[in-house]
């Protein structure tokens, strides 16, 4: 292993290719649930760093914690606020735990944005159905922000969100607020509820019967555990949504996000560059194959 001395700074410029994380200053860490946090960063100050926050809803960044590791993390902020980079991270392993315990002022490495976006342009003039499960709401929030900023471009907005239990509900205040907007439904359900929970109990697909939108005129955007998405896209098709109007975001192991490392392959796809957002028409055959 080559270790590098920091003392002699060679005249050779540091690489700024897609594989180099650019340090970005952490502004705040906000606790969303018992295990999930939202990190807000300044765009990296290095040349080209401003591009890190020019993203389209559904894209992700590679976040690097110095000395710990790097992970793909969806961007959960407002695409029209390029002055900040927002990520919502569930702390489940060493890198995610380290990231969420960083203090304001610390630097986190950022690469990207990478990947395919939600079909916000294609969905114009149509209703949009958001189906999110767990942390899967994070990559969908930029799509919701986009629709709300361009409300006239879209018909109805229906947000269906499933979480494990009431304490796992992400962006709870926003979900409630969105539900009060005109032509907007926002429904939450939990898999396990106690008596203090007054809302829906049941998996997210049990909310489908409450959708008030014309299936043929609706684009559905799904993100959540793969099993949940598989069930959801089947039921949406039964309800009359065409395959090419259903989109979902896939998760796979990623080491590079640039198509070089090979880890994220799923059949003919590289999830990092052909995804993470796929149309159901393209990805459904591969989701139905076990261990593909």
């Amino acid at each position: 292993m080559t270790t590098h001395q920091s003392t002699p700074v060679s005249p050779v410029p540091a690489s700024s290719g897609p594989m180099t994380p650019l340090p970005a200053r952490l502004i705040s860490v906000e606790k969303e649930t018992h295990d999930t946090y939202t990190l807000t960063l300044e765009p990296p100050s290095a040349p080209g760093g401003e591009l890190a926050s020019r993203f389209r809803p559904g894209q992700f960044s590679m976040l690097y914690d110095y000395g710990v590791g790097e992970l793909p993390i969806s961007i959960s902020g407002d695409p029209e606020r390029p002055e900040q980079l927002v990520y919502t991270i569930r702390s489940v392993g060493p890198v995610t735990t380290s990231l969420v315990t960083r203090a304001p002022g610390d630097a986190i490495g950022v690469r990207g944005p990478f990947g395919t976006p939600w079909p916000m342009t294609e969905a114009r003039g149509k209703s949009v159905l958001i189906v999110a499960g767990g942390i899967g709401l994070a990559p969908l929030r930029p799509a919701i922000y986009h629709i709300l900023r361009h409300r006239g471009d879209y018909n109805r907005l229906v947000i269906l969100y499933g979480a494990r239990s009431p304490r796992d509900i992400l962006f709870k205040k926003e979900l409630s607020a969105w539900g009060l907007l005109p032509d907007t439904q926002s429904l939450i359900t939990v898999d396990y509820g106690g008596v203090s929970w007054r809302g829906h109990v049941g998996v997210v697909t049990t909310l489908f019967k409450s959708i008030r939108a014309q299936p043929a005129e609706t684009y559905a955007l799904l993100c959540g555990p793969e099993v949940m998405m598989r069930f959801a896209l089947r039921e949406l098709q039964i309800r009359g949504l065409p395959k090419n109007q259903i989109f979902l975001s896939m998760e796979r192991n990623m080491k590079c996000a640039a198509g070089f490392c090979g880890h994220c392959q799923l059949g003919p796809f590289f999830v990092c560059k052909d995804g993470p957002v796929f149309s159901c028409a393209a990805i459904e055959p591969w989701m139905d194959l076990y261990e593909a």
């Binding site: 569930r90 396990y192 019967k209």
Partner: protein, 158 residues
Amino acid sequence: MNSIQVQSALAEHPFLAGLTESDISTLASLAFEVQFQEEQIIFRDGDPSSFFYLIQSGHVALEVRAPGHILRIQTIGDGEELGWSSFLASVNKQFQARCLEPVRAFAFDGAQIIARCEADPAFGFRVLRRVLSTVADRLRATRLQMLDVYATRGGGGL
């Protein structure tokens, strides 16, 4: 609600979508309107399975009572049915049904429905297909719920 209003309300209920007019009127003749208050228990587990409900408005939670706490399994709302076990005369209620808000529903006496189904098997088949479809939906949802898809498994994450 007069009988014509009952019939038209039933005709619009999703559970009965696609039934013939005469099926609806048969059911209308058996239906009576009920209202429950928030927090009212419609039935408890162990109760004899007497009534079957088609919910018009409001939400009901199905619960299991365990020592020290109550676990909420599922919520059922307007356009759905409650109490399908009343089609099985020998089975008592398995769960407790609690209103989360004021609930309006049509109630049917299970014994009466069963009698009609037996008297007119074609009608019975049509109604039971709907019941079966509900049971299948609940079973699918329960299986999916059982997968606990949001949980962190195995060796945790990265």
